[in-house]
């Protein structure tokens, strides 16, 4: 992996700091006072339903649009336009030249981002290896699968090794296998010290990969923190238990935290290790036979629902 373009900033300086960002498009308010902070080397997930303002936030940080109000800083520098040395931009669309090969696309975007000579050659070799496209580097992009295009799309934004990588829905439309591969690639970049800001409404991936999450709604950040913190602060850490039972049980046989409709039993458990065996014993004594058991911790979907009253995918 290549070294980042700038190595001298203090680790305390946020990679990205957004304070009170406001952006209007006509009568529509895309950003309504967004606050956000991305730490160096951090993977921050930006979650929100469609129209929440995620893409506008990303465009603002990339220096592609002017804010009506508020401040954006990247490593302490006020953003007044694009800063390609610091920021890599991966748009949601497959922003590639379809009639060029992967090598030619990488070469073009590398040059446009200031790479030249051996540095460019080295970066291209790394990118082809990183994306697993070495064997098809000289094929035109039109011949690639969706997942390959997505990987190349990301590579063109990372090639010049920015310190901050903005990823707008980088895995949209990719099959689970392809998504895993992309997330693995991004983890490599993060391990190398690049701060990632990824917008998505695919919360499943972010639950696993991101260090922290910011939830956006109607142009604002309505919550931020680690998944555990968000869950604890909103829906609590109780696990949701569901049992499918053979035999008819009466609700009177269980406590207040148990809901039973005969063949299905649902309960919230504070301490699964302690409470689950006890509940299973109660079921056995009541004459029930458990055929299926599901214990589920609340996740970002429940947090989002709790905060906004809407499903994340709406």
């Amino acid at each position: 992996m290549h070294k980042s373009a700038v190595d001298t900033d203090s680790v305390e300086t946020p990679a990205v700091r957004v304070v009170g960002a406001v952006k209007r498009f006509g009568s529509s308010m895309a950003l309504a006072g967004l606050d956000l902070q991305l730490r160096p080397g951090e993977w921050l997930g930006l979650l929100g339903a469609n129209g929440a303002g995620k893409t506008t936030a990303m465009h603002s940080i990339a220096g592609l649009i002017n804010l009506d109000d508020g401040i954006i800083e990247v490593f302490g520098q006020r953003v007044s336009g694009p800063q390609p040395q610091l920021i890599g931009w991966v748009p949601q669309e497959i922003a590639l030249y379809p009639h060029l090969t992967a090598r030619e696309n990488l070469g073009a975007f590398g040059r446009l981002n200031g790479l030249r000579g051996p540095q460019l050659g080295e970066a291209m070799s790394w990118a082809l290896s990183w994306t697993g496209l070495e064997s098809r580097a000289d094929e035109r992009v039109t011949a690639y699968s969706g997942g390959m295009k997505r990987r190349l799309n990301i590579a063109c934004g990372v090639l010049h090794r920015p310190r901050v990588l903005l990823l707008d829905e980088p895995t949209v439309g990719v099959d689970p296998q392809g998504r895993e591969r992309i997330l693995g690639m991004l983890e490599e970049v993060r391990q190398d010290g690049t701060a990632l800001l990824q917008s998505t409404h695919e919360f499943g991936d972010l639950e696993r990969t991101s260090d922290r999450l910011v939830i956006m709604d109607e142009g604002r950040s309505i919550a931020s923190g680690t998944l555990g913190e968000l869950v604890a602060e909103t829906v609590g850490n109780h696990a949701a238990l569901t049992l499918e039972i053979e035999g008819k049980l009466s609700p009177d046989q269980f406590g207040d935290n148990v809901c039973c409709d005969g063949s299905t039993l649902a309960a919230t458990l504070g301490d699964v290790v302690e409470e689950l065996p006890r509940l299973l014993e109660d079921v056995r004594r009541a004459g029930g036979h458990v055929v299926q058991l599901d214990v589920r911790r609340p996740g970002i979907a429940e947090v989002f629902m709790q905060l906004t009253g809407r499903d994340l995918r709406e």
């Binding site: 390609p84 931009w89 922003a95």
Partner: protein, 379 residues
Amino acid sequence: MIRTVFMISLLSVLRDRVALVLTFVLPLVFFSVFAAVFAPMDTASTHAVQTIVVADVGETFASHLADRMAAQPGLVVERRETEARASALAEVHVGHVGVVLILPSGLEPAVPGKSPGNGEVELHADRSNPLAAELVRGLVQSSAAELLAETYFGADPGEVREPLPVLVIDAVGAGGKRPSISFFAAGLGVMFLMFAVTGRSAILLEERESGVLGRLMAARVGMTRLLLGRWLFLAVLGATQVLVMFVWAALAFGLDLFTPRHLAGFAVTTIAVAAAAAAFGLILSVACRTRTQLNGVAVVVILTLSVLGGNMFPSFLMPEGIRELGRWTFNSWALEAYRKVFWYDRPLHELLPQIAALLAATLVFLFLARWIARRWERV
């Protein structure tokens, strides 16, 4: 089932504004342009032929004939003395006038019952307008017939059986030149140049739709550099296209391209017109929102410019008002420059007005394109 398919088609068309415009408005636009250009020909004269009549004022018949020619509505006549023959011929050689008519002494006896005249009318013509020579020759004959009839037969031209001898000489275009080939090579070449560069300039719209434009802006390429890069490519592409057209015209149809003077004039003109056309294509592409819109707009604008500028029909077929309008189109300057090169054999420095106009148009177009493209930048 058929009804459903029909209804789907109908609704699709009704809700596609571009399709509606192309289907219903475009034909009207074209009809209107062509009608405006050519309908006046039904009622008004076309461009009058600039003519110099060289005649000896001491020669009665020639002098009277010159007077009659000057009175013809289809001609704009300037009279000169026989001593000015050389300077008059120089005028037709450089294309300032269409015809020089030389009326020698001794024409009068060419009437029945008299001894044959010892001279003949010389008609030196610029064949870039093939109608001019025929028009003037006809007018000479009819004027002479009227004059002779009035003088000898009591105003009945029918009595004049022997026509006045008229020798038509190609003042320019002699020696195997192909005026129609150079006209079509230049006219069609420039028209397709405009289509080609506008078509390729659509890459800007594709970049915008695919997100590449955002990526380019994030890389700090900047709109000015992006447009200049595109313009340079389009200009090179356009110049190459015109080069191919002229080389083909030379090899297959005998266009006189491969002489030092013609090659130099061709190169300068082609670079200038390709630069202007490329900048023009940029304007169209940044002004449109989609490729479909660009295609529709390009067809209307380019064909209109081509008709007015004289790419499709020679401008001598057009009424004077339309010719004047055509002079405001950049493609007409290109055609004028090519005509000077291939038809009048003019040296490079005489192309200066046309080249300057094309370069000025390039700068104006580039400035406009940059100004319109502001909407694609930071908002």
